[in-house]
Amino acid sequence: MRILLVDDEEELVSALAERLSFRNIEADWTTRPEEALRLSGEREYDLAVLDVKMPRMSGLDLQRRLQKQHPGLKFIFLTGHGSHQDFKDASQEAWAYLVKPVPLEEIIDRIHSALASGGSGQREGKGANHDQ
């Protein structure tokens, strides 16, 4: 299993990748959406975990571009407390929409359930911990 992590908070995304690696989940990370597109063009990923709000390119825009490159790619969105509209939009496009801070066990559970689901990257009636 190989995961792509994209969040503009380097100290978050690098620590998350390291913790996932301790649990035998290989994760590449980047703080820049453009770099995520480059990585995705070079390597095969099973799932991408994307921050919803990033400078210059939103997580939703990045998700659409990654999906074009890899139609089978699954997605999980992370947010630091987005608006209700963000929740609606992101929930339609991803397996899960998680509000930071998220316990690592929850992220891992969502990764496993998304990858076990087969089919599209969109969730099937479960998955959001939206706390508005």
Partner: protein, 217 residues
């Protein structure tokens, strides 16, 4: 100013700061988890504790506690802007607060806000809330432009008097006169009773409360 604008502005600023707090908490959460993982691996697997790695994580945690405290401080200062609802307003203080509160939005647009405040004490009419809203309107006007400015220098000018916003490093061709029109249009929606005016020099857009005799060149 209409009564609807003020709660909307409060909502915008509080949502932005709470988003920053959530991100800072997420960094703390992940790095505290990482420190725990390193200790647990040493205990359970009998590996020597990587003290160098752990020290780096602890340093990161301390830095992020400071970041979180700074965000909470900004939230607190913003909450207190309505404590005094009569002027005059210390503009040097308000400018710094406005730039701090706008920072996350500017970051998302790929722009830097640079205060270049000389040690001057400049006071203006109205309330701190009105000035914050006016400054947000100016920044929205400048950073919403199609030319996509990546830097805005902000300075107080006691001679005019005015707050000057100098946009630069545009992705497209700079059009400060057009930016001034955008600002004027946005500001008209939030115009306080004392009527700040937008002036332009071709290089900078100024927010003033009287027509300047000698606009900045």
């Amino acid at each position: 100013m209409t009564s609807e604008k003020e709660p909307r502005f409060f909502g915008r600023v509080v949502a932005s700061l709470s988003h920053e707090l959530k991100n800072a908490l997420a960094v703390l959460n992940e790095n505290a988890g990482l420190a725990g993982d390193l200790i647990e691996m040493a205990e359970e697997l009998g590996r020597p504790l990587n003290t160098e790695r752990l020290t780096a994580v602890v340093k990161r945690l301390k830095a992020n506690v400071k970041t979180t405290d700074e965000i909470a401080g900004s939230l607190n200062r913003f909450g207190h802007v309505v404590d005094v609802l009569e002027g005059p307003v210390d503009l040097d203080e308000v400018v710094l607060l406005a730039l701090r509160l706008y920072r996350r939005h500017a970051d998302r647009l790929g722009a830097k806000l640079e205060p270049s405040l000389e040690p001057v004490s400049l006071r203006g009419p109205g309330t701190r809330l009105e000035w914050l809203m006016a400054m947000f309107a100016v920044l929205d006007g400048l950073l919403g432009r199609p030319e996509k400015y990546r830097r805005v220098d902000v300075a107080l000018d006691p001679r005019t008097p005015a707050i000057w916003f100098q946009p630069s490093d545009a992705v497209g061709s700079a059009d400060v006169a057009g930016a001034a029109r955008s600002v004027e249009s946005l500001l008209a929606e939030d115009l306080p009773a004392w009527g700040p005016k937008v002036v332009s020099t071709g290089l900078a857009v100024g927010l003033t409360w009287s027509i300047p005799d000698h606009p900045k060149q």
